[in-house]
């Protein structure tokens, strides 16, 4: 009995701690990216530092002309920032998509990105369903 207890008590503690970690949430363990708002808060300390920022692409802001780099505005709540990017553009990159950019902000408040990632949607729907929803 005593031997069993010696086994069970630690197991219960381990189980409790793991579930605490799961449910209390690993809140700040690793920030994969910051938001536009957080980025602008850190100005001017953040000039020249390499950061990863996420935001929504503002409708109609994408300028993608030949021989020039891609330019668009990324927003997040109230804050906005202009982004410049030269490289491969993800297929789903378009107006209203959530994007993640890696790079640094220059002193004239333009974000120069080395890498542009698009987040895939968390809601999967078919063409038809969206058409129906828009109609209704």
């Amino acid at each position: 009995m005593k031997a069993k207890l010696k086994f069970i008590v630690p197991l219960v503690i381990i189980a409790f701690l793991i579930s605490w970690l799961v449910f209390a949430g690993v809140r700040d363990s690793m920030v994969y990216y910051i938001t536009v708002e957080e980025l602008l808060e850190d100005v001017p300390d953040v000039y020249g530092q390499k950061v990863r920022v996420s935001g929504t692409v503002v409708h109609g802001s994408i300028k993608n002309e030949l021989d020039e780099s891609l330019q668009f505005t990324m927003a997040d709540g109230k804050e906005k920032i202009d982004v410049e990017y030269d490289g491969v553009i993800p297929d789903i990159f378009t107006d209203g998509v959530e994007a993640v950019v890696e790079g640094s902000i220059s002193t004239d408040n333009i974000f120069v990105a080395d890498l542009l990632l698009a987040k895939c949607p968390t809601k999967y729907e078919s063409d038809e369903a969206r058409y129906q929803r828009k109609k209704g």
Binding site: K6, F7, P10, I13, I14, S29
Partner: protein, 230 residues
């Protein structure tokens, strides 16, 4: 409880007599320090996060060196077998070895840490004892408990495998990643001069990891050291 202290005392006595592990760890750390500085081309603009990462890489590499050695010493003349004959719960044996390894690793870290901060931060401006050094040491102790608990556990496994000490980093590194992530994060926050509230949650997580690992390892130790004879 008496048994844990007996094993702890014996281990420190063995190390005191042989003076093998401790100097090796120190010199190894200094060499790593040199290599990092050379690799960074003696730059002075290295950010706090990189410094914390470098410090932790050094702690873990030199720490694992000591852990591997501590069980090889037990295997000489099969001395460990005799320890297993003693009427003591096997988790006490584990806790005794854990305690002695902890003391050795932490003491060496206390020696290394000021050197690192000095070599990387040069002027050490803005480093106050209360706000930086002591919290840094506290986190170091917490992180070290996490990786030494797993390290002690798996080094007793590694010495019995064909690959011996080569196996130890393979077993330990992937498992201690949570500890590394958290410790490095907290250390860089401390260097940046953030208040305690900023990283308090990470500290809680770190304490959680420590408790989970120590409990799990002392539970499983009995199964680990059973002599399979082949």
């Amino acid at each position: 409880m008496k048994e844990i202290l007996l094993i702890f005392r014996k281990d420190l006595l063995v190390e005191w007599r042989s003076k093998q592990i401790f100097p090796t760890m120190l010199i190894f750390s200094l060499l790593l320090l040199l290599i990092f500085n050379v690799a960074f081309e003696f730059r002075s603009d290295i950010d706090f996060h990189t410094i914390s990462a470098v410090v932790w890489i050094t702690f873990i590499f030199s720490g694992l060196l000591a852990l591997g050695r501590s069980f090889s010493l037990e295997k000489e003349n099969n001395a460990f077998s005799f320890l297993l004959l003693i009427p003591v719960s096997r988790s006490y044996i584990y806790l005794g070895k854990l305690l002695s390894n902890l003391v050795m690793v932490i003491v060496s870290e206390i020696f290394i840490l000021p050197l690192f901060l000095l070599f990387f931060l040069f002027d050490a401006k803005g480093l106050s004892l209360m706000d930086t050094i002591l919290p840094f040491l506290g986190v170091t102790v917490l992180g070290t408990i996490g990786f030494v608990s797993l390290g002690t556990f798996f080094s007793s496994m590694a010495v019995n495998t064909k690959l011996r000490d080569m196996m130890l980093p393979l077993l330990v590194f992937p498992l201690i990643i949570p500890v590394i992530i958290t410790s490095v994060g907290v250390c860089s926050s401390i260097l940046e001069g953030r208040p305690l509230g900023y990283y308090a949650f990470s500290l809680q997580i770190l304490v959680c990891f420590d408790i989970i690992f120590v409990l799990l390892c002392s539970l499983l130790f009995e199964y680990l050291i059973e002599d399979s004879g082949d």
